[in-house]
Assembly symmetry: C2
Homo-oligomer: 150 residues x 2
């Protein structure tokens, strides 16, 4: 049943591709939207958690965040209680583009789920959450350098 994972891959790449093209209108380059939406939604999140959430390499997130900061869309604030971390916040300018990201997301959602009943959507979501939990555990292990055996 390996086709399930292929379907997921296809859907993810297609949607990502669409988003990247559409967000150029808001001066966002490839991938940036992923980080910006999450920072808008979870003000104060740190880079490390962001990478973990998105499932991307730590250094990739570092660079994406760096660029968002340079563009003035987000801000890094040092924490007096913990000098190791930098909390991330969307600036006013960042918050201005957020509604656009939301609208695009809602639309993609609508398109993707067209023809599915509310119940089917609920089922799909619940199943995917479980799959994600399964996969996420392995991802963290492998990222740490541990080897899966099969």
């Amino acid at each position: 049943m390996k086709e399930i994972l292929r379907e997921i891959g296809m859907i993810a790449r297609a949607l990502d591709s669409i988003s990247n093209i559409e967000f150029k209108e808001v001066e966002l380059t490839r991938g940036q939207y992923l980080y910006l939406v999450r920072i808008c939604e979870q003000p104060g999140i740190i880079q490390e958690k962001l990478a973990e959430m998105i499932k991307v390499d730590r250094t990739t997130a570092a660079r994406a965040v760096q660029k968002l900061e340079l563009q003035g869309l987000i801000e890094k604030r040092s924490d007096p209680d913990n000098r190791k971390i930098k909390k991330l916040f969307a600036t006013e300018q960042g918050m201005e583009v957020y509604p656009f990201l939301q609208r695009e997301g809602v639309h993609s959602d609508k398109v993707a789920l067209r023809g599915l009943s509310d119940e089917e959507i609920e089922t799909l979501y619940s199943l995917l959450t479980r799959v994600r939990h399964n996969v996420e555990a392995d991802w963290e292990e492998v990222k740490k350098g541990n080897k899966r055996q099969y």
Copy 2:
């Protein structure tokens, strides 16, 4: 319900990341496995279809295929009936690594679907197929330069 698409994104990135790390063992660099498995499974497929299947830019597929050829894992054959296309075939060497890709795929599958019943798996697959069809239509439009409206 936009969380569905996020779950899909997370799962896809996590699995892709794992695969990329594991396939280094077989001298494959990032992304190459996507193309190689499909060429092994569909001998004679052309680049354009490959990109369409995988949902990746045409030029990205071009470069991936180019590299696979340079590494001697696949072969491009010109078609006497159609001088525009080049059919792709795995070489012996390419076919040798294929079983490894398969085993990895089966294992990822097992991990991802752990705890799901056969029926749930069936349901998930069927729902995802529908979602993919929905998304794929939009992707092709947007790739052609057409604008979605919302």
